[in-house]
């Protein structure tokens, strides 16, 4: 079929027009697609605004009609856009077909080009250049392989582990690296870092205090107190107070024999005042803290003392007499060479760092909020050691060396008594009649989940990377999924819990107020291992060291181990 020059010109014109049309449609469709991807017809700002107005005035029928009208309009707009894109795709196809067809007509009327290749390489040149390409590409690929191995080495499987079998390392104990729990030392309230976990294995699960089963020794404690034992090496330390006399006791961990008794009264600057507080609590509620050379204790009248392990008073001072309805109760923590004191009084709430050797005040940070009865916790997140306080209303973290506040997030409120639980990723705050809150720590942190089904009274929660355990003041024990906040199991033990649970040897040790230790597996399913009565009531958190458990009751201290 032969076409005239004029016709060919027309075909070229049509072809050009259809080509431009195709391109314009293609660009328009791409823009429409982007618009469709970003459009959310049921959540437009105008619709949301009218919905909010309707929520405030639900009986307003006009407003309801307005919501419906805007909703309908938004949906119509969305589906119109969709229809336009659908129709556009066929306009595009039609444009392409017209372009192809007229190009065919134009091409059919033209003679095919018969140009020769100007560059005919000879065989030797071709071979030589290909040899060069081969060497260059082999070198480049080798270099890229080496670079990618270095750059992406974090992604490589660990040595000795097969690629297919790579699994996320999950630990049953928190991977929080401010001093991991020790098999021998149990230096603070709730152990290392005050985090509620004990090192070592082989702890007893079954005993009977009345019958003497697995009771290694039992010794009376001179003065009463709610504080818990702390341990360094073979020495166990405990505090007691009666009638304004405050004492610290050093006891042989192996035999239960008293090594020395130190006084926290009568030193220069000491307070003899007995502040008004809950009669049941007394003045020896805070637990002492022990390091390699020193043991420090604080009491309800603000007397703070530091002894060496041989019973020699290194220094003593009064930090002010705390005014607290339930009695001063914040336990001590030692970090590096600093004794860290959380001070909560009606007139002042603060955190202080005292030099361990001299008692010199190195820093003091005034906290905001209301006084609480919790104790500080030491943990590390993103490699930063942090002193964490379950405050009211915020959970706050401080640099233990400087006292500088690192971050603060909304936590719990009320008469806050439980201390925080932590694992390698999250911080858990809890308060009775309020809630349990899981927080992602840090300046960019936030609430991950919260729940108010099971909340503790005086007992502090404890967590590992998978599970959070809560012992309540009504006798319930609950296990939460740390990441999702689901209640994995709960069990009613009848007696209330004041002592804080401790995770040891993949078990959770839960001591109720009647003195019965309930031992359960630290797992997502309820598995009761044993229930062991002591025969005495207690509210003190037990200490764990070298296959032995140490429990303080109202008047005795027990050492329990498998015979």
């Amino acid at each position: 079929m032969k076409f005239s020059e004029k016709n060919i010109g027309i075909f070229k014109g049509i072809s050009l027009a259809s080509g431009v049309f195709t391109l314009v449609i293609a660009l328009t469709m791409l823009l429409s697609l982007i618009q469709l991807k970003t459009m959310d017809p049921v959540n437009t700002p105008s619709l949301q605004a009218v919905k909010e107005q309707f929520d405030r005035d639900p009986d307003n029928r006009d407003k309801a009609e307005q919501v419906r009208a805007i909703d309908l309009m938004a949906r119509k707009a969305y589906f119109s856009s969709r229809w336009q894109v659908e129709a556009g795709s066929y306009l595009l196809l039609a444009g392409a077909i017209v372009f192809v067809f007229f190009q065919r007509l134009v091409a059919g009327s033209e003679k095919p080009p018969r140009t020769l290749r100007p560059d005919k390489p000879d065989i030797v040149t071709e071979k030589v250049s290909n040899r060069r390409y081969l060497v260059i590409s082999a070198g480049a690929v080798t270099l890229l392989a080496i670079i990618s191995s270095f750059v992406l080495r974090k992604e490589l499987p660990a040595p000795g582990r097969s690629a297919a079998g790579t699994k996320i390392a999950e630990s049953s104990v928190p991977v929080n690296d401010v001093n991991l729990p020790d098999e021998v030392n149990f230096p603070f309230f709730r152990g290392e870092g005050s985090r509620g976990t004990a090192g070592g294995t082989g702890y007893p699960a079954e005993w009977n205090g009345t019958e003497g089963t697995n009771i290694r020794w039992k010794t009376p404690v001179p003065k009463s107190g709610k504080s818990s034992p702390v341990i360094w090496g073979d020495k166990l330390f405990l505090t007691g107070a009666e009638d304004g006399d405050c004492e610290i006791y050093c006891i042989n961990k192996k035999t239960g024999e008293s090594i020395w008794t130190g006084s926290a009264s009568g030193f220069p600057g000491a307070s003899a005042e007995v502040p008004e507080s809950d009669a049941e609590a007394g003045m020896a509620v805070p637990t002492a803290a022990v390091s390699e050379k020193e043991v420090c204790a604080i009491f309800g009248n603000g007397n703070l003392v530091c002894y060496d392990h041989d019973g020699k008073l290194k220094w003593g001072k009064n930090v002010g007499v705390p005014q607290s309805v339930y009695g001063y109760s914040a336990s001590l923590v030692i970090y590096d060479k600093l004794l860290l004191v959380q001070y909560d009084s009606q007139d002042k709430i603060s955190l202080s760092g005292f030099e361990l050797g001299s008692g010199e005040l190195k820093w003091e940070t005034i906290r905001s909020g209301r006084p609480v009865n919790s104790s500080p916790v030491l943990a590390a997140f993103d490699g930063q050691p942090q002193l964490l306080v379950n405050g009211n209303p915020n959970v706050s973290a401080f640099d233990p060396l400087t006292g500088k506040e690192l971050w603060s997030l909304p936590g719990v409120s009320g008469d806050v008594a439980p201390s925080l639980a932590v694992n390698s990723k999250l911080v858990f705050a809890a308060q009775d009649y309020y809630s349990v809150v899981a927080l992602k720590p840090g300046k960019a942190g936030a609430t991950v989940w919260s729940d108010n089904t099971f909340t503790p009274d005086a007992s502090s929660p404890v967590a590992n990377d998978k599970f959070l355990f809560i012992a309540t003041g009504s006798g319930d024990v609950a296990c939460y999924d740390t990441e999702k906040g689901d209640t994995l199991w709960s069990h009613y033990f009848e007696e209330p819990f004041y002592a804080s649970p401790i995770i040891a040897d993949d078990r959770v040790y839960l001591l109720d107020r009647a003195g019965v230790m309930h031992v359960v597996k630290a797992s997502g399913g309820f598995q009761l291992v044993a229930q062991s009565p002591l025969g005495e009531r207690t509210d003190c958190t037990p200490a764990f060291s070298e296959k032995s458990i140490f429990i303080r009751t109202k008047s005795n201290l027990y050492c329990i181990s498998n015979n």
């Binding site: 595009l92 190009q103 020769l116 065989i123 297919a164 699994k167 927080l439 936030a446």
Partner: protein, 425 residues
């Protein structure tokens, strides 16, 4: 009459397109759902599965089309015949079968079947994968010439010839090898069928393809007028296999029906740059010079294979991101790191399903493990392809005639008319 015959196939092609547009217009007759009128959604209706007889029919049509194409290309040497077969294939495998079943996509079925014992590959998919390769071993790329609907639509619309510079052509020719390697890896790890997902012409064959693919397909068609068969040359993963098998073909089309006169007239006759030039100049002697030490370069092939294997092994975790479960696990982990829970629709749906995060994260690690196993083999394939590609040229012998590059020639018969040598029938 002869001119009408020349344009008739294009008229049929236009009718096919118009027919499809009519089908679309019919769809538009039905009103769209109205939200104020108490609209109720219609119940789902499922089409009956095609009977096995129809699957055998597809295979029979495939074999028939391959035989006819081979006869037309090798015996009849008819370009017009190739165009008619292309039109038929486009109508049957493209518009009627809507691009499925397809030999190109069957690569993924094969990969999945080879690496997953629980997947039973349909017989038709197996045959669609193997039969065109057998024909490539016998007669060259006759499947590409006129049976593949994707090749056919491009062949019918490639009117003009814009030759790409040789260096660009060589670089772009690497893409199909990478595409094939990734497509096999993704299918073998049960991650996704990459080839089907990004089939550019399925939007034209069907009327319900993603719009992005309609745009891609239409633009490719327009580009293909000038740079002929762009998908076949720079993307098609099955073309890589056809390329390899065709190099060993028993019979292959020749440019000249008899002895080549080295007249160079055929040089501009191939838009795909698949004509290998003769090393003999008319009237001159051999150009061959001894080139020693070629075997030294052989060692570069395993170096390339090992290098690519290491690179792909290192990138395996990144590649595994195409798997929906890996993507979801990473999304949930990122949300948790940011301290927020279940924002994306996928994450919300996952949590509502009642599955545990632990199970998801474990599955993520298993999938990454599978990628770690498979990716190095893709690297070995790429390294060997590149290495052998360079090395074989260093060993090649003197060419006395102009001949088609057996790997890259589509047997489209375009070059026949450029050869002045004719045989009287």
């Amino acid at each position: 009459m002869k001119k009408i015959k020349k344009y008739l196939p294009y008229l049929v092609l236009a009718i096919l397109f118009i027919w499809h547009s009519v089908l679309y217009a019919q769809q538009q007759r039905f009103p769209r759902p109205e939200f104020e009128g108490g609209y109720t959604f219609p119940t789902h209706q499922f089409l009956n599965q095609r009977g096995p007889m129809w699957e055998y029919m597809d295979v029979a049509v495939l074999i028939g089309a391959l035989l006819i194409t081979a006869w037309i290309a090798l015996v009849k040497r008819s370009r017009q015949g190739i165009i008619w077969v292309s039109l038929f294939s486009l109508a049957y495998f493209g518009f009627y079968r809507q691009g499925c079943i397809c030999a190109i996509g069957s690569v993924q079925n094969m990969s999945l079947a080879l690496f997953n014992g629980s997947y039973a590959i349909p017989l038709s998919a197996l045959l669609f994968f193997t039969i065109p390769l057998i024909f490539a071993l016998l007669f060259g790329r006759v499947f590409c010439a006129g049976v593949c609907p994707l090749g056919a639509i491009q062949e019918l619309t490639g009117f003009r010839q814009v030759k790409m510079p040789r260096s660009v052509e060589k670089v772009l020719a690497v893409i199909p090898f990478v595409y094939l390697g990734l497509a096999v890896l993704f299918a073998a790890t049960e991650s996704q069928f990459l080839i089907c997902r990004y089939d550019p012409f399925v939007g034209i064959f069907r009327i319900d393809a993603p719009y992005t693919m309609v745009i891609f397909g239409s633009l490719l068609l327009v580009v293909g007028i000038f740079v002929n068969r762009p998908y076949c040359r720079y993307l098609c993963p099955y073309g890589v296999l056809q390329n390899i098998f065709s190099r060993f073909s028993l019979k292959h089309v020749t440019i000249s029906p008899a002895e080549c006169r080295k007249c160079r007239l055929c040089e501009p006759g191939c838009p795909y740059d698949a004509i290998l030039q003769s090393d003999h100049e008319p009237g001159s002697g051999t150009l061959e010079k001894p080139l020693k030490g070629s075997l030294r370069y052989f060692i570069m092939i395993p170096v390339l294979a090992a290098g690519f294997a290491v690179i792909l092994f290192n990138f395996a975790p990144a590649l595994s991101g195409v798997n929906v479960n890996v993507k979801l696990a990473r999304e949930i982990r990122a949300e948790k790191d940011e301290g927020i829970s279940a924002v994306s629709k996928a994450a919300v749906a996952f949590f509502e399903s009642g599955k545990t995060e632990d199970a998801l994260f474990q599955e993520e690690q298993q999938i990454i493990g599978r990628f770690r196993k498979g990716a190095p083999w893709v690297g070995v394939f790429l390294g060997l392809s590149l290495g052998i590609g360079f090395f074989r040229i260093t060993l090649r012998k003197i060419r006395t005639d102009y001949e088609p590059d057996r790997g890259r020639c589509y047997s489209c018969a375009r070059c026949f008319k450029f050869c002045p040598v004719k045989i009287k029938k």
